[in-house]
């Protein structure tokens, strides 16, 4: 018996058929076991399924390895080159105007989003900014520096299939835990009072809502009316609705900026031109700046984060403004 099982496990198939409790069907006492056709096919099927499982696992890993915004202009996916190391394969970046809006050309190829849609933007300034981003890549393409391209790809593709209501609700949710409403009961509180209170007052006056600041960890409770007012205000922003389906690009931009700054009130300040990007980032990082002044600055951590935050916030704000404006130049007649 053992000799039969031994031969099944080692000689016949590496997949360990013996573990399934399969006996050699052709076993007869005294005769050496011979592999039958059915047994051989079963062995091959096991090997195949094992290989398929292993490939699926590997495929899942490689799919998650590449970062999101990797627009490929070739129809065939170049799976062997990881997206993080793509060399700059184009010389010229130019802008053309198509039916849906402005398009970007890399050499002679049109830029496409990660889901292979054509990359069109309604605003010329935004198209020029995206083209400059692509143009500023040296040698290798660093996708993590191309924030505007990322934002446009997200709003064009909408990979999470979120419509504007969901985005607005997500942005308003930030009100609950807005960073500028929780004040620490420490010496930091003076700095916070000086810096954050004017912004809160401006927001209350501008939107005619009531919000206060709190010292507890839970934050102030936002009355429902405030939420409605702000939600309707956000919804009133002009949509990037050149194409048929309702593209939620401006709420996507608003939510992006709110996520970066961890504050909805600061985002509103940016949208309404009340705060510059540097100011908003400073207000968002107030505690960190306080600690830096007290304990010192670590360049490779603090500055790194600061510049990345500034870049993302600036990209988001620019995206919101360029998507929600309509440029009309009225020539006034000079009156003498």
């Amino acid at each position: 018996m053992e000799s039969v099982r031994g031969c099944c496990a080692t000689r016949v198939c590496g997949a360990g058929v013996a573990s399934l409790g399969v006996f050699c069907p052709g076993f007869r006492a005294g005769r050496p076991p011979r592999l039958s056709g059915a047994m051989w096919r079963r062995c091959l099927r096991l090997q195949d399924s094992g290989r398929r499982l292993r490939d699926q696992a590997m495929g899942g890993l490689t799919a998650r390895m590449g970062p999101g915004p990797g627009p490929t202009t070739q129809p065939l996916a170049r799976a062997y080159a990881p997206l993080t190391e793509r060399k700059r394969f184009y010389q010229n970046v130019s802008i053309t105007q198509g039916e849906g809006g402005f398009e970007i050309n890399l050499d002679h190829r049109k830029l496409k989003t990660p889901q292979a849609k054509l990359f069109t933007v309604p605003s010329e300034a935004l198209a020029i900014a995206v083209a400059t981003e692509w143009d500023s890549q040296q040698d290798t393409i660093k996708f993590y520096t191309m924030h505007l391209t990322t934002l446009c790809n997200t709003s064009l593709d909408n990979p999470m299939q979120r419509n504007r209501e969901q985005l607005i609700r997500a942005a308003v949710k930030f009100l609950d835990t807005d960073t500028i409403w929780v004040e620490e009961p420490e010496t930091l509180v003076e700095l916070q009072k000086n810096e954050w209170d004017p912004v809160i007052e401006w927001a209350e006056k501008r939107y005619d809502v009531q919000i206060g600041s709190s010292t507890s960890i839970m934050g102030p409770s936002i009355p429902a009316k405030t939420r409605e007012v702000l939600a309707s205000h956000l919804a009133s922003y002009n949509m990037w609705a050149l194409q048929g389906p309702d593209l939620a690009c401006v709420p996507a931009g608003i939510e992006f900026v709110a996520t970066q700054l961890k504050s909805m009130v600061l985002t509103l300040g940016l949208i309404d031109l009340h705060l510059t990007v540097e100011q908003a980032v400073l207000l968002s990082r107030l505690e960190e700046e306080y600690q830096i002044q007290k304990w010192g600055n670590i360049e490779w951590a603090h500055d790194y984060e600061l510049h990345e935050l500034r870049a993302r916030t600036a990209a988001g704000t620019l995206f919101i403004h360029l998507c929600s404006e309509s440029t009309t130049v009225k020539h006034k007649l000079l009156q003498e």
């Binding site: 300034a125 400059t132 890549q137 520096t145 510059t276 990007v277 490779w300 500055d303 600061l306 006034k332």
Partner: protein, 113 residues
């Protein structure tokens, strides 16, 4: 907003950043689409009859935002290159850090082909 500064300063900063961008392509920055658009936009909004022009302020704000974007992206990339982009040290470097040198055998080691 007083914190924005003067438009001339923003424009100068933008031109400087565009020069850095054009250093990547090697072509002069005056030919780039961004330069032409900026010059046209700034000129168009300079002459206005109103004292407080919201469109001018909007353009200045957008220009300042774009300047912040370009500046911070460049600073971020520079910091990344300097601190986070070096990768691993080679064996020779690591040995050199503690004052050792790798041995060299003129005939090659015995097991090498």
């Amino acid at each position: 907003m007083a914190a924005l500064g003067s438009p001339a300063r923003t424009m100068r900063g933008l031109l400087r950043e565009l020069r850095f961008v054009s250093a990547a392509t090697g072509r002069p920055y005056r030919g780039s689409a961004a330069y032409r658009y900026l010059v046209k936009a700034f000129r168009a909004h300079r002459v206005t009859g109103e004292k407080l022009c919201r469109a001018q302020h909007e353009l200045h704000f957008q220009a300042a935002t774009y300047l912040c974007l370009l500046r911070s992206v460049r600073a971020h990339v520079a910091l990344h290159q300097e601190f986070h982009g070096k990768g691993e040290r080679s064996v020779e470097e690591s040995a050199g850090m503690v004052g050792l040198k790798l041995p060299r055998q003129p005939g090659g080691k015995g097991w090498e082909p």
